[in-house]
């Protein structure tokens, strides 16, 4: 369906994935130094999901929305990593001007429509983006990334039902990492295959390996083509694993065996893709080390210092952004409207 990916693009994609991994690890470090507050949910282990799908979408054109594990989706959507790090550091230069935090990264310019902290909350919002796209008659699609845990919320069922009923242009991506915080899939639902739950609403659906970015990209091609061509929504289940705990306050170990974690570490998506590119002769081992060093250097020299040195929001602006600052419309002063 798609032309084979050029070597340069494969190299760039690996570089982006390495950078995302190091970005998240740097966040953990900053959290331990208390530069980052609140809750922090990191992405290592699941990179092939966001990168595989979004590599095949049109960033800045299509809309992306997700839950609270949102930094990497925002970066791949086109948000500036400096602004994201500054947001985590609660600075005015942050993507949400320090009002959002880790779970609420937004970047309207790149059509990254936010991270949301209520599990399952983005499902209807994503369908609403699809409804808006349909009303505007553009060729955009909305892409909604959620975890498997979200599928036990009512919003999953309500949204699958309406999205299919109204054939809304939405790609639902289920990053099935097998755990809803600390409760396993098997202990949460009798239907372990999430794509079958979407199929119950007559939705086109598929399940593939979420650790191999090539597999994800080819599944995404099919899914995106389906949605963009007006055939309605699509549910893509990606089997993945988070290598860290649910958040910084969870070791991720009490409810998962060491053997299981080790098994998934052997299928780390960043290193799987590295090995693949080495095998293809696209890169050699030293080039990968260079990429890795460059990523860390960019964080150390550019991104973290920007976050550290940026000013905090002004307390005088506390109530800014609660409502529209211009109240004229609310007061009934409509330009050219009425008498």
């Amino acid at each position: 369906m798609e032309a084979p990916m050029a070597a340069n693009d494969r190299k760039r994609l690996l570089r982006e994935m390495v950078f995302a991994r190091r970005f998240e690890e740097r966040c953990a470090e900053a959290y331990h130094h208390r530069d980052i507050g609140g809750f922090l949910h990191l992405y290592p282990g699941q990179e092939a999901c966001a990168f595989g799908v979004l590599e095949r979408a049109r960033m800045g054109h299509d809309y992306v929305i997700t839950g609270y594990r949102d930094h990497v989706h925002a970066i791949k959507s086109g948000a500036d990593p400096k602004a994201i790090m500054a947001e985590l550091f609660a600075k005015e230069s942050g993507s949400s001007r320090g009002r959002g935090g880790s779970m609420h990264i937004f970047d309207a310019d790149s059509h990254f429509m936010g991270g949301y902290a209520l599990v399952g909350e983005p499902y209807p919002l994503a369908a609403g983006l699809g409804k808006g796209i349909k009303m505007k008659e553009t060729d955009q699609i909305a892409i909604c990334f959620m975890g498997d845990g979200a599928n036990n919320q009512g919003t999953f069922h309500e949204t699958m039902n309406m999205a299919q009923l109204w054939e809304l242009p939405v790609l639902f991506v289920c990053e099935n990492n097998l755990y809803a915080i600390g409760t396993s899939l098997e202990r949460s639902t009798p239907m372990h295959d999430q794509y079958k739950r979407a199929e119950a609403y007559a939705m086109a659906a598929n399940q593939v390996d979420g650790q191999d970015v090539d597999t994800v990209m080819s599944a995404a091609d099919e899914a995106i083509d389906h949605v963009r061509s007006g055939k309605g929504p699509y549910f893509l289940e990606l089997m993945t694993y988070r290598l860290r705990g649910h958040s910084m306050s969870d070791s991720g170990r009490g409810y998962r065996s060491e053997a299981e974690i080790k098994r998934w570490m052997e299928r780390d998506p960043v290193y799987l893709f590295r090995d693949q590119l080495v095998e293809e002769g696209v890169i050699n081992a030293e080039e990968f080390d260079d990429m890795d060093r460059d990523a860390q250097q960019r964080l150390d020299d550019e991104i973290v210092p920007f976050a550290e040195e940026s000013p905090e929001p002004d307390v005088a602006d506390l109530t800014k952004y609660v409502l529209d600052e211009d109240t004229s419309t609310a007061l009934g002063q409509i330009p050219g409207g009425g008498k």
């Binding site: 902290a117 919002l125 369908a127 808006g132 009934g332």
Partner: protein, 326 residues
């Protein structure tokens, strides 16, 4: 100037806004082909089609969320929740999403969504169809909450709410849809802020909104027969509350009577009393009094149902007591 039903005023505002902007759409249960439980969208399905007057399945939280999501990219959805009691199912989308998206995105996004829902106590609908939930919405930062008590405001406030870039909750009342009132023929917009003096008086100020405004007007008639001149303020907006109009009235009457259809504990009356305390304390020459619903689920039995609520007689009686004229 035509005298029209309240429901027809709401319908007319829908019609004009749907005609004005192709990105306006209405969504709710039974609002399309069936024409709406209270006829607020009657005839519009045929006129604008099923994509713009959308019959939603019974999924209040998610169809509300669909409206909110669409509003984030420029649509202007008018969401109808058939009964405010069902709105409890949609609170995640309204309170956690719509009310907070502008703020938590640092002003990058906005949700220009309208959520209309009738509430209040009608006639023997029982505890689960008689909720008065204005306290929930009015206590939420990031929302505007209005309560049009008359057809003219029902029309003009919905028109403005659709154009406004903030999420607006419009609380209507099941027992007011058949009220008739004058609405100007030419298109016009009403402010979403500001209370209105709907009857002038000099002895006492009766403050209410939605149904309690109508009780207060009837009570003022009764009080007039006994030589008491009551001023009646229709709050119109519960968020924000217009403290200045209240203060100006109390500067004249010096006595405040707060009347609400909801229960007193943590209810609208508590908030209005606090506003009076903060903004008007030195205008008062008696402690303000509130008349509110009893602290009980609303019963089915009609006699019990009436006993649970204020009415014009109770407002008049409490007013006489406040004035030492009981």
């Amino acid at each position: 100037m035509a005298e029209i039903f309240y429901w027809d005023a709401v319908r007319r505002a829908h019609d004009e806004e749907l005609a004005h902007d192709p990105l306006v759409f209405a969504i709710g249960e039974d609002i399309g082909l069936p024409g709406g439980t209270y006829k607020a969208t009657q005839g519009l399905f045929d006129k604008y089609g099923e994509e713009r007057v959308v019959d939603a399945p019974i999924s209040e939280n998610s169809y509300t969320g669909i409206g909110i999501g669409a509003s984030m990219i420029g649509c202007r959805p008018i969401i109808e929740i058939m009964s405010v009691n069902f709105g409890l199912l949609a609170l995640d989308q309204i309170i956690n999403a719509a009310a907070k998206i502008r703020y938590m995105s640092g002003g990058q996004l906005e949700c220009p969504v309208v959520i209309r829902s009738p509430g209040g106590v009608a006639h023997q609908l029982g505890a689960q169809h008689s909720g008065r939930l204005e306290k929930i919405f009015s206590g939420t930062s990031g929302l505007r909450v209005v309560t049009p008590a008359f057809p003219a405001d029902a029309y003009g406030m919905l028109k403005t709410a659709v154009r406004c870039d903030d999420p607006v909750v419009i609380l209507e009342h099941e027992a007011i849809y058949n009220l008739k009132g004058e609405v100007a023929d030419e298109e016009h917009f009403a402010s979403l802020e500001g209370a209105r003096v709907v009857r002038e008086g000099s002895d006492v100020t009766l403050i209410g909104y939605l149904m309690s405004t109508h009780w207060n007007l009837a009570a003022a008639d009764k009080l007039a027969e006994q030589g008491i001149s009551a001023e009646v303020i229709d709050l119109r907006s519960l968020k924000p509350i217009d403290s200045e109009t209240i203060r100006q009235s109390l500067a004249k009457t010096h006595k405040a009577m707060v009347v609400t259809e909801d229960e007193a504990p943590v209810g609208m009356s508590a908030e209005i009393m606090a506003v009076i305390n903060e903004a008007c304390f030195f205008e008062l020459d008696a402690p303000p009094v509130r008349v509110a619903a009893e602290d009980t689920p609303i019963p089915y039995n009609h006699k019990l149902e009436r006993a649970a609520l204020p009415d014009a007689d109770r407002v008049a009686e409490a007013t006489r007591r406040l004035l030492g004229r009981a």
